[in-house]
């Protein structure tokens, strides 16, 4: 008999059924829905992830702006797709909830972009022409060159670039683009010969012959 069952049996036979006034004053919480814990996660982590997934941070307008910016940072090219095609906006949304310290710099930065594009072009950033968007981005994409009045935007753009790069290159598409070919069982036999030759390097005798 498992201990849980023993306890149940004990309480049913007279130890635990009485509801005292103290207990009655605190209603029992609703039974939580059973949660499937994914492999490799602790229960509290799975619960936390599920809760965060159920929340929304970005407004539709904010999400649209994030999508446009991330695709400016990582556009599609001959080798791979764009940030949004790799699911970067959803990753950024999750990171806002997962690490709430991101929220104000992100929300404020998105508002800064709109404030500035309205001042320059009379429109929210996403409603501007592609040329106007790039004109603004050029003023905040190079932190050391950012002029007074643009430095806050440069900080925000660096944050966007960091999140976009991390989100893209940790996606399946990004991993293929960057050319990481590991994470599979294999036998490591050393640096390929052509690479050794390219760099003018060689293994030592004992590394080639094998250790005793």
């Amino acid at each position: 008999m498992k201990r849980r069952d023993t306890l149940k049996a004990i309480s049913l036979t007279g130890f635990g059924l009485a509801v005292t006034p103290v207990e009655a004053a605190v209603p029992a919480p609703p039974t939580p829905k059973p949660l499937k814990i994914p492999g490799g996660r602790q229960k509290f982590e799975a619960e936390r992830d599920a809760k965060l997934m159920g929340e929304k941070f970005f407004t539709p307008h904010e999400l649209q702006t994030v999508t446009v910016l991330s695709d400016i940072i990582i556009p599609a090219d001959a080798k791979s797709g764009s940030a949004s095609q790799a699911g970067v906006p959803a990753f950024i949304e999750f990171m806002m909830k997962d690490q709430p310290g991101n929220q104000t710099p992100m929300r404020g930065g998105l508002r800064w972009i709109d404030n500035t594009s309205k001042r320059l072009f009379g429109n929210d950033f996403v409603a501007c022409t592609k040329a106007q968007q790039i004109e603004l981005v050029d003023q905040i994409a190079y932190p050391k060159l950012a002029k007074t009045g643009m430095t806050q935007g440069a900080s925000f753009f660096s944050m966007m670039r960091n999140l976009t790069a991390s989100g893209f290159y940790t996606s399946k598409m990004g991993i293929e683009d960057i050319g990481y070919v590991g994470n599979v069982p294999n036998q490591w036999n050393g640096v390929p010969n052509d690479v050794l030759k390219q760099y003018g390097l060689a293994y030592e005798e004992r590394e080639i012959a094998g250790y005793e």
């Binding site: 498992k2 991390s166 590991g182 994470n183 294999n186 390929p192 690479v195 760099y199 250790y211």
Partner: protein, 617 residues
Amino acid sequence: MFIGQDELEAVKVSPVLLCIVYYVSNQISLLFTYSFMNSFHLNHAPTEYDVVIVGSGAGGGMAAYTLAKAGAKVLLLEAGGYFDPADPKYITQLKWPYESPRRGAGTTRAFGDFDAAWGGWDIEGEPYTTVKGTEFHWFRSRMLGGRTNHWGRISLRFAPDDFRRKSMTGVGEDWPIGYNDISPFYDRVDKLIGVFGSKEGMESEPDGYFLPPPKPRLHELMIRKGARSIGVPVIPSRLSILTKAINDERGACFYCNQCGRACQAYADFSSSSVLVKPALKTGNVTLVNGAMVREVTTDPATGLATGVNYIDKATMDDVKIKAKVVMLAASTGETARLLLNSKSSRFPQGLANSSGVVGKYINDSTGASRSAFIPALMDRKRYNEDGVGGMHVFTPWWLDNKKLDFPRGYHIEYWGGMGMPAYGFGWGVEAMNGMIAARDGSMKAGGGYGAGLKDDFRRFYGAYVGMAGRGEPVPLESNYCEIDPSVVDKYGIPVLRFNYKWGDYEIRQAKHMQDTFEEIIHSMGGIALGSKPDASNNYGLAEPGKIIHEVGTVRMGNDPKNSVLNKFQQAHDVKNLFVVDAAAFPSQGDKNVTWTILAASMRTSEYLFDQVKKKNI
């Protein structure tokens, strides 16, 4: 979920063993469960164990293994949950970053979603405090096997001089034993667990029984060439990873670079996979998970230990265990905490603490690091260079401290190469790509976007290296942990308060590390990243506790006035009480201490058995 007070009362009338039956995980071999259940039904389950061991990390795992093999009836208490890296329930190995919504970021685990450490520097409901103006960060893994599930597998022997630094330098403390006392146990640990390395014949880095080391990766060949050109040695690393299978229970390494996630083939050493599981198979070990031990109990008449009391984390029951011998392996911090919390009229300063030394001399490794960009590695050919989990080469301490302004050495660890992208990939590129000429030779401002940025990421991938020093500190009486007079954890157990400050020796050592790092980086044509740490930030010396190598709170020695344990790690004051974790170590060398914990725990366990045979205990 907490059960009501009425039920708690009810449990007290039921045999303690009921709790244990439930918590013995269903992972444990059927045979064991069967015999145990049988004994329960027959009502002659042991009410007194031969040995209760607190903690299932390197020290506790080895003690359980050694004692169970010798036939002792052992109760192994672990504060955390059950863990088996071969069970899909727990596997993170070979997962991709996109299988984590945060791409492996360290939000709920300090080393990221895939790391095999449950816990970290901050655990909900289990606080600790620090004295104002001092700092200490206390990393705890609450799981079977403890911190051995995610550690770096760096398995170094202490050298003869590491046991006698005080005699050599006038500061610190000597050990009550020397290399010859422990080397037979290092030999046996090498053969039992497996470690790769190379015979180098260095007095300061004793050789062992080694499996073949993996060949260096490209960046490691470059580091070796550069470092050697300036007189810094680089040799194959020594990690407890099976480059060849050594028995039928464990597989060989398949080179995924993810030992930190714990290995489903058991091809690296973790106490849970390599020691606790075989110990359970003997049928002599009862494992209880979720057991937060709060006190070692003693007989007021004899002063001998009688067992422990623990809080069952799932039910909050207070459970009393009787044992003939108590072995503590709860970690340097927890073992000291447990002794200090085990006060009685006979032991008013805490158990085994007539010297007042318990908690004192806590010391963590020094640590400082630097990373670099290696232009020669841009636009590399892609191939799988994952290798083992960690470095294939390292730099052992190579200088004479007599000629330096600090008395202890350090070794250097290296990383780099074409690793699996994770959260943080590409971060801070604006500080990088302004320094590197584009393909057409032109320079541009740092930052950017679009196709050019994408090209930068491709060109820079795999062109970074890093290095970190791990050094020996001088243990100080003024660095200590004690019981906080006003704070308890969620189990009602008084918590530790730390008081730790680095000394000048450690800061000077970190300065030396930084100078060396730059020399190595320049020797290989690299660009050191960030600004060089200086006096304003202690030369990048990591805050105490951040390297997670703390030792020394319950140190052994020959003089009961300034040590807690004798040379067999047996309490001077309580002869049936032993400490088999790194709390017992007077110092830590510039060697990661796990191999010494294992050897010393095996030695102490065999001493205990011998003492029992001789009827001294």
